[in-house]
């Protein structure tokens, strides 16, 4: 053998080298480019950790000031899902989109991975020892030069930490911290405090019959979204006797779209309408001042006079809101709302103690004067959301030493000299006091993702190293301090933690001296410009906190349905006058600055007003936050007497900028075109239909023989037929499609009802679905196809309608074709209808979609070859295609850059390139519950589990269950007289049953009650 090799001139070693080299090349370019990861089993398992089994931690959401309770589902040490805590008094099990997206703050790829110190003008990573030493050194220097020159700005939060922080600051001789939250309406808080004694009362909408809201956008993140939405939906679900909502404002927000009537007053003239209500101003005069049709105003005034108790709420976005609040408070005191529908006794305490923007404005002067030597910022991002006209960022740059405790990079932290990254709230201990007498506990749900340290512990560590304070901070960490405050200490904490709440109250923070207010803003009508400028807080991104979370960027704004983009909202008639159309670029110029963005034609805005949302257009807040433009740049230096920034205080000149930019919208046509998709019924016609004819009990259906009479496609007429092999009705071999099969799968029919009378269109379900089902976001700049010049940039895939949202909220207008303000909006969540007679199934050539015996329309990703015929044939258009490899890390379209991929639900596949996907009705939850029941040797309990969308829904509009079993609530709801199927005429026999929206027409026009 050796002679042979020698004879060919190739030595064995050379041969092996070549082969080895070739194999190495093949291995490096073939198979997998991922690095090898070793699976190491636990030798000693941590407590409560069983691989593959979730652990649930009750903790507190810090997404906004309200502090809802959440339950963090943690699998193998990683938190994968947040659900509302049903025991929590505030959110009662529901959770909004912002709350859901806290996970993307936890796993944000732009989090600081370690402390950072600015060296030679650049932030470089450092060790904690070095960073803390530098911090202590600077603290010492500051103290020696007069600690009064130090400022601590904390993102407002409720609970004991603010008091702890104030204590620490005072131990260092520093003034109490500024508790800043630019996302809340400080004017409303001041007014509530003055009128009702609390910062934010609970509004019990069910206790009234008429709500008049002057820009009080209680469904848009004005105040605690989730509890307000729960109350609102519960009130509206009464149907008969439900409150009517009249919205007054220049722009219909989500709250405005949910309103039954809209008085489109000029910005700044809300107060005249309020005076008309109180009778202080004649209706005609008020109508003339506000630009509202006098007859409509008169009917609202009449209605208000007749309504007892009425409820009037007002938001403080306009500069002259103080006058408005005074009148509104008087109205509420006179109409009996206080104590019935305004409940100061059930106040939301998270809104107490927020410093108004005027404090930061005053700080600007001090910083400019050089009298601030050290500024510390935690969480808040004033460099972004203090309007540029206040000069905050420039002033802050002058401070000699700036410390940030930011967890994720933001515009403010990037200016700082030292970054001591805080834990995310899901990684640290804390508490909040959401309602009086109840503490909502915050505990770490997992180990820290990065090398961060809770600010509270940083403070303790630093104090320990300080000879002057070491004695006071003998405790090991903040957790110990916190437990000491809980009744019962360690044991009390241990019993309280599983529930997440405990009786108690947080420490009072040190009150700060009242600061100077803003100079009075000029009358908006007297400012220069062509159109009123209406700047508002984005309902999802808020004041910009959500901007670096791709879920929230991609979540269509509930009102405009735009993603990844800042637009100028304009009335169609105004745009027509200016020769503009959707997506034409315009420049909005105010005295403070200008902004260029595409036009979006919006019916719900006055013709003399343009609107721009805040939240986007960050300079330095991570990779996703760059999308859009910064609306704060437009705000002139104007506030209200409560010290808040007036969001609506000026006119603006709007000019054509030339060119256009495609709208990254998910909206196709906002009209139903006679399709009867989102149906509504006037309240007067409820009950007139008599007994619903579908309510008769049905004889047992064998799959395949259901009559067309039964309403909701509970049994598919073709369920067994769906499996072609068993299609013969005479066949005895129906397999699992036989109801008597031992699995009894065919005895179930998973179904869902969606109550459109409850649904507000808030889209929390959408984000919940993204979180549960590993849905990729596709709108980032680098995910775009980059193949056409006009399709690049943020939202490029969205402009091609390639969003992947398995559930979407459609928003249809009724009326208002002529541009009038008198139009109705219907929201309808649309997801896979799990048709009994599904058009998608027979057209799939490879059985990638087929019918499960329990009624689910199943998509088998591994089998899909991507013909997309199923999507063509789906009347509901709820199938989504993986145009790119969104789940493949080496691609630019990768949707889960490390560590966002840590959030992925291990129960759900990350779909590959080229396959179709759609709503599975959370099949992983169904099977999980079935398996659990099996293990516990019991049948499934009615309403034992639900889908992610239903679980999150803050209006409790979605109900999921087994429609073949009378004991599930969904079965009862399906028999409601309002029940209908979308496109019933197509014989699809859908499993999703909608309950018609109920319209509450103004009394004058309402048909007589039968």
């Amino acid at each position: 053998m050796s002679t042979e090799t020698e004879s060919t001139g190739i030595k064995r070693r050379d041969f092996l080298k070549v082969v080895g080299g070739g194999a190495a090349v093949a291995a490096s370019i073939g198979c997998s480019s991922d690095r090898v990861e070793k699976l190491i089993p636990y030798l000693v398992s941590p407590d409560n950790t069983v691989p593959g089994v979730s652990t649930y931690y009750a903790t507190t959401c810090r997404g906004c000031a309200a502090s809802c309770g959440v339950i963090a589902e943690t699998r193998d040490g990683r938190t994968t899902k947040l659900e509302g805590n049903p025991a929590h008094p505030l959110n009662r099990g529901a959770l909004c989109a912002t709350g859901q997206a806290e996970l993307q703050a936890l796993y944000n790829p732009d989090r600081y991975r370690s402390p950072m110190i600015r060296k030679n003008g650049k932030l470089v990573a450092a060790k904690w020892d070095e960073a803390l030493q530098l911090f202590s050194q600077k603290l010492g220097q500051t103290r020696s030069r007069g600690a009064n020159n130090a400022v601590f700005i904390n993102q407002h939060e409720s609970g004991s930490f603010p008091a702890f922080l104030d204590q620490w600051l005072s131990d260092y001789g520093m003034p109490p911290h500024i508790s800043y939250d630019s996302g809340v309406d400080t004017a409303a808080i001041a007014a509530h405090t003055a009128a009702y004694g609390v910062a934010w009362p609970r509004f019990d909408f069910g206790a009234t019959t008429l709500i008049i809201s002057f820009g009080g956008d209680f469904l848009d993140g004005w105040g605690p979204s989730v509890p307000q939405q729960l109350d609102w939906a519960d009130a509206r679900a009464k149907l008969v006797g439900a409150p009517r909502l009249v919205y007054v404002g220049a722009r219909r927000s989500l709250t405005g779209l949910n309103a039954d009537s809209w008085l489109d007053c000029k910005p700044g003239t809300e107060v005249s309408i309020a005076r008309a209500l109180s009778g202080d101003m004649p209706v005609a005069q008020a109508a003339q001042a506000s630009g509202v049709d006098a007859a409509r105003l008169q009917s609202v005034v009449d209605e208000y006079r007749a309504a007892k108790p009425g409820l009037v709420i007002a938001g403080g976005h306009v500069a002259n809101s103080t006058d408005l609040f005074t009148v509104v408070a008087a109205l509420n005191h006179s109409n009996g709302a206080v104590g019935t529908s305004i409940r100061p006794d059930q106040a939301i305490l998270g809104y107490e103690g927020i410093a108004p923007a005027a404090e930061l404005r005053a700080l600007v002067d001090r910083m400019n004067a050089g009298s601030v030597s050290l500024i510390m910022v935690r969480g808040a991002n004033p460099a972004y959301n203090m309007p540029r006209s206040t000069g905050f960022a420039q002033a802050m740059a002058k401070v000699p030493f700036k410390v940030s405790f930011a967890s994720i990079m933001n515009d403010t932290s990037e200016m700082c000299d030292l970054i001591l990254p805080d834990h995310h709230s899901l990684e640290q201990w804390g508490d909040a006091e959401p309602v009086r007498g109840t503490l909502s506990l915050q505990q770490p749900a997992m180990d820290p993702v990065f090398d961060s340290l809770a600010t509270s512990d940083v403070l303790i560590k630093v104090a320990k190293g300080d000879p002057a304070n070491a004695a006071k901070y003998a405790l090991p960490d903040y957790r110990t301090w916190l437990i000491a405050r809980i009744p019962g200490g360690d044991e009390g904490m241990a019993t309280a933690l599983p529930k997440g709440i405990v009786a108690g109250s947080s420490l009072a923070r040190t009150a700060r001296p009242a600061s100077s207010a803003f100079a009075a803003a000029p009358d908006i009508a007297s400012t220069s410009g062509d159109l009123f400028l209406f700047v508002y807080h984005h309902p999802v991104l808020g004041d910009g906190r959500g901007a670096n979370k791709p879920w929230l960027q991609e979540l269509p704004d509930p009102v405009t349905k735009l993603t990844w983009q800042t637009v100028v909202e304009m009335h169609p008639l105004t745009a027509a006058k200016m020769g503009l159309d959707n997506s034409d670029l315009v420049t909005v110029t105010t005295s403070a600055g200008k902004l260029t963005a595409p036009v979006y034609l919006y019916l719900g805005i006055r013709q003399d007003t343009v609107a721009v949302a805040t939240g986007r257009g960050h300079v330095n807040a991570g990779r996703y936050a760059k999308a859009g433009e910064n609306a704060y740049d437009l705000l002139p230096l104007a506030g209200n007497s409560a010290g808040g920034i007036a969001m609506v205080s000026t006119k603006a000149s709007v000019t054509k900028a030339g060119g256009s930019m495609l709208l990254a919208t998910t909206e196709g046509s906002a009209r139903q075109h006679l399709r009867d998709i989102a149906r509504a019924i006037p309240i007067g016609e409820l009950g007139l239909a008599g007994e619903p004819k579908h309510a008769e009990p049905q004889e047992e259906h064998l799959p395949g023989d259901a009559s067309h009479e039964f309403l909701p496609g509970l049994r598919s007429p073709v369920a067994n037929d769906a499996q072609g092999d068993f299609g013969d009705p005479a066949s005895k071999d129906k397999g699992m499609y036989d109801p008597n099969h031992w699995s009894h799968m065919a005895q179930r029919r998973w179904a869902m009802t969606i109550d459109l009378a409850r649904c507000t269109g808030c889209a929390a379900c959408v984000t919940a679905c993204y979180a549960e089902n590993n849905i990729p976001t596709v709108g980032a700049e680098w995910q775009g196809p980059q193949i056409m010049p006009d399709r690049t940039g943020f939202g490029a895939n969205i402009t091609r309608s390639r969003e992947m949202a398995w559930i979407r909220l459609e928003r249809y207008y009724e009326g208002g074709e002529d541009g009038s303000a008198d139009f109705e909006t219907r929201f309808i969540p649309m997801m896979c209808q799990h048709c009994g007679n599904a058009p998608c199934e027979p057209v799939c050539p490879v059985y990638a979609t087929y019918h499960a015996p329990d009624g689910l329309n199943v998509q088998v990703y591994n089998r899909c070859v991507g013909t997309r015929y199923c999507s063509n044939n789906c009347p509901y258009k709820v199938r989504y295609f993986n145009w790119f490899g969104y789940g493949e890390p080496h691609r630019s379209q990768y949707a889960f850059p490390e560590p966002l991929n840590w959030q992925l639900n291990p129960d759900v596949t990350v779909r590959g390139k080229g396959v179709m996907e759609k709503c599975s009705m959370c099949v992983q939850r169904i099977r999980g519950a079935e398996h659990r029941a099996k293990l516990e040797n019991r049948p499934l309990r009615p309403d034992e589990f639900t889908t992610a969308c239903a679980e999150a829904c803050p209006s409790r509009a979605i109900t999921f269950g087994d429609a073949a079993d009378e004991s599930w609530s969904v079965t009862r709801l399906i028999k409601d007289e309002r029940a209908y199927h979308v496109f019933e005429e197509l014989n699809t026999f859908t499993a999703v049953v909608y309950l018609k929206k109920v319209n509450h027409p103004a009394p004058a026009t309402a048909p007589a009650h039968a």
Binding site: P842, P845, Y847, G866, K877
Partner: protein, 486 residues
């Protein structure tokens, strides 16, 4: 008015527009030798041919690169815009399948009908069919999200006992296309056998000669071979005939079986078949008019033949015209808002220009063929054929894109705009088709030598010079040979 009873003279017959009949005259073709010389003479590669082939291959490579890029990146690089989940690829698929149909119609159905004008053009048309189907067959694979799994559509025995969904029209497509490709390729080859034998006899290059000898299946021009050949040809013609109707009907089921407004209609199968034949004849014109010029074959493919084919185009254009109007009527008659609004949108919506283009090309311009002058003007015929090709491509565009973009759910209405990848692959398909066609016409006679000889008068002095049998006697003239001498 006196009734003329005398038979038409030769001159009159030549002038008279050719009525589909076996009575085709090629007065400029004197004898068999001329046929052999002139047709085989076209097989010598020329510089222009090489340039043409190079361009075709370049186009093919552009398309192939685009496809490679698309496979690597994902279908997102194409211009899909949900809910428009089908786009240029499916349009082009239907376009090429349709092109194929004229070839089979001409070679099979017209053969059975003894339509004489087919004789000179059928070889081209049939080659066109095979290559068009080969082109079309790529597109269903090309448009898949995971093209490497395309074989899952084929019912092959497998361990998982998973069979394709036999209800899916896409599976029917697989059968239809594969059947069509097999039958039309066989048909083309069988017809070629006697011609290949001629090539073999004339070939001097030993390798090519060997190759031709293999392909000619040992053809020796015997009585028995001819008898079998004609029977086999007749059988295959009869076998192909239903395919002309069935294949495009099946393709139309891709649309008609769905519930999409604008697709879900029973008129689709006949409408698609007529459209296919129409488009195929257009493509035949596109190919044959330059070909007869470049190959100097104008005296074979006569104006009379083109005139007759033009009448067929006119007829099929009228059929599709009626189908278009039927669609509007049914949409109105259905009472379904989705259908009505869709057709309104088709006419006046964002793609009004595509519909206008289609109606102009397929309904209006072909009306010119009522004029004999137009039918006999090859320049106009060629220009019209380009319009027909464009019109038929846009017919499929109008079927696929506007329907999908305006379905039941208004919230999901959207637009569609192809990207460079779509265009590159579209070009690549023309390159692929042209490459095969160009290769074919330089390897095999693009006009059937055998069948031409049937309509050429033999030189009677050579009547018995066909050879001698083993005893040395001249072989007798065989009267049952096709194309009996007059």
């Amino acid at each position: 008015m006196a009734i003329t009873t005398r038979p038409a003279t030769d001159v009159e017959l030549l002038r008279r527009p050719n009525i589909p009949s076996a009575n085709v005259r090629l007065p400029a073709v004197k004898d068999y030798e001329q046929v052999d010389d002139e047709i085989i003479g076209t097989l010598h590669p020329t510089a222009q041919w090489f340039i043409g082939l190079g361009v075709a291959i370049l186009f093919l490579l552009i398309g192939a690169s685009a496809w490679t890029y698309q496979i690597y990146s994902g279908l997102g690089v194409a211009g899909y815009n949900p809910p428009v989940m089908w786009g240029v690829y499916i349009i082009t698929f239907v376009f090429w399948v349709g092109i194929g149909h004229a070839g089979t119609l001409i070679s099979a159905i017209l053969y059975l009908f003894r339509a004489g004008f087919r004789t000179t053009i059928y070889r081209c048309a049939e080659a066109m069919t095979v290559f068009a189907v080969m082109t079309a067959g790529l597109f269903p694979i090309l448009h898949l999200g995971r093209p490497w799994k395309f074989f899952w559509l084929i019912p092959y025995p497998n361990w998982r006992y998973i069979w394709p969904q036999m209800k899916s029209p896409l599976v029917w497509d697989v059968f239809a296309i594969l059947t069509y490709l097999t039958v039309s390729a066989t048909f083309l080859y069988i017809g070629l056998v006697p011609d290949i034998a001629v090539l073999r006899d004339r070939e001097t290059n030993p390798i090519r000669k060997r190759l031709f000898a293999q392909l000619a299946l040992g053809w020796r021009n015997t009585d028995r071979e001819w008898r079998h050949f004609v029977r086999a040809y007749l059988f295959l013609a009869a076998f192909s005939t239903p395919l002309v109707l069935s294949v495009h009907s099946v393709v139309s089921f891709d649309f008609a079986m769905s519930d999409v407004p604008g697709w879900h209609t029973t008129v689709f199968p006949p409408y698609f078949v007529a459209g296919a034949i129409y488009s195929g004849i257009g493509m035949v014109f596109t190919i044959i008019i330059p070909l007869r010029k470049w190959f100097n074959l104008k005296h074979y493919v006569t104006i009379n033949d083109l005139d007759a084919a033009a009448k067929l185009a006119l007829f099929t254009s009228l059929v599709v015209g009626v189908a278009y109007m039927m669609e509007w009527f049914v949409a109105w008659y259905s009472g379904s808002p989705a259908e009505k609004q869709f057709f309104a949108n088709r006419l006046w919506g964002q793609w009004w220009w595509a519909s206008a283009l289609l109606y102009t090309c397929n309904m209006v311009l072909p009306l010119s063929l009522f004029s004999q002058y137009c039918r006999r003007n090859t320049t106009w015929l060629w220009i019209l054929s380009i319009f027909i090709n464009i019109g038929m491509w846009f017919e499929r565009f109008v079927i696929v894109v506007p329907s999908l973009s305006h379905e039941y759910e208004p919230w999901q209405w959207a637009g569609y705009r192809p990207t460079w990848v779509d265009y590159a692959i579209l070009c690549g398909s023309f390159g692929w088709f042209a490459m095969w066609f160009l290769l074919f016409i330089k390897q095999f006679p693009s006009i059937a030598i055998t069948e031409i000889k049937e309509i050429v008068k033999p030189r009677l002095k050579h009547r018995h010079a066909m050879g001698v049998d083993s005893t040395g006697l001249p072989l007798p003239f065989m009267p049952d040979t096709p194309g009996e001498f007059d």
